[in-house]
Symmetry: C2
Subunit: 207 residues, 2 copies
């Protein structure tokens, strides 16, 4: 979200507002019916815009999907950068995962998460966007882990890249589980998550 | 799969074969286009059957989805029951997770996994099937964990139900990651998975 960026030019501001309106409408449609089954027509109806007006902002459904992922991604470096200066690296890592999980638990956009996965498997264009986002997050977390190793807070014998891949799998798995199982709650899973991440990363003791 | 069950009645055997043929065709179609966007017509074409013939076996798309999940589920109790007699409970748990992961890494059915999640979020009928399967697996693993606690191999202070929920999230997350990230491999993630599960369940040491 670019709510805080000063857009003084009224035309640019209007453009930004219209884009946001389309993306919000598209999220509602995609969450309801899936990417694959949702036509641009449905997005137009939800946004209350004519196809001609909408196509001026987004020439295709893939362009909308790309913009949704990009918008989500815009928050991530900001969320992760404090990790590179934290005193307690593991604690900060867990806090940012909690913020990511809680931030994703909005009922309107939540169903989009597995949908994005499913579409990434089918659609190379979405896979490419997803992959870029993933790499960007992964690179930052690898640096965080390596810093934790240098500080003696994280087991230096771990393969940092595989460990990060695993932590990302774990975090996505928890989000997916909350989505799927009505009885699963972030409050119940978070202590498990924290115990698991702390013990996984801890130096010493046999694995 | 019921390959081993003796179906001596040729008509019953034929019925079973036709059902299997339809389900295999449906998996190909669903993996390609998603549940939502795939019509019964496409499944008929893939199976090489007329709609009339196919409807004799499955009256609706939901009935096909249900049968796919049921078929997958049929293997699970068999996969998990040895856990209830294992000497090394945690080792056996990790081995059965490995078998589950490797068994799911068939290129044809793999894309179905996030698709099932996405559909379960949208479609209450699929959510109900999914939930039943999930509960059945969860019940067995809770008993395994409690047995490990009684044997002193697993931290008895853990909430068994939340721990199992977490382990299921973790396992699904690893499967999803392999699906999504071309560089992710089961060989790279399995040592991380094993380290994580062993340390997570281990008695003693502060969490």
């Amino acid at each position: 979200m670019n709510d805080l960026s000063p857009l003084r030019d009224p035309r640019a501001q209007r453009h930004e507002e219209q884009r946001r309106r389309i993306l919000d409408a598209a999220i509602v449609c995609f969450a309801r019916g899936g990417f694959h089954a949702t036509g641009m027509q449905a997005v137009c109806a939800e946004a209350g815009m004519s196809p001609g007006a909408l196509y001026r902002y987004f020439p295709s459904k893939d362009a909308i999907i790309e913009a949704i992922v990009e918008r989500d991604r815009a928050d991530i470096p900001q969320l992760l950068s404090p990790l590179l200066e934290a005193d307690d690296v593991v604690g900060a890592l867990i806090e940012s995962a909690r913020a990511f999980l809680v931030g994703n638990l909005r009922p309107d956009s939540l169903p989009l998460f597995p949908e994005l996965y499913a579409e990434a498997v089918r659609n190379p264009a979405v896979a490419e966007i997803f992959g870029r986002c993933d790499d960007e997050v992964g690179e930052i977390v690898v640096r965080v882990i390596e810093r934790g190793m240098a500080l003696g807070q994280i087991d230096a014998s771990l393969d940092a890249r595989e460990a990060v891949r695993f932590l990302m799998a774990l975090t996505d798995g928890v989000l997916m589980r909350i989505l799927l199982e009505p009885a699963a709650e972030i409050e119940g899973l978070m202590p498990m998550y924290e115990r698991s991440v702390r013990r996984f990363l801890a130096p010493g003791a046999s694995s």
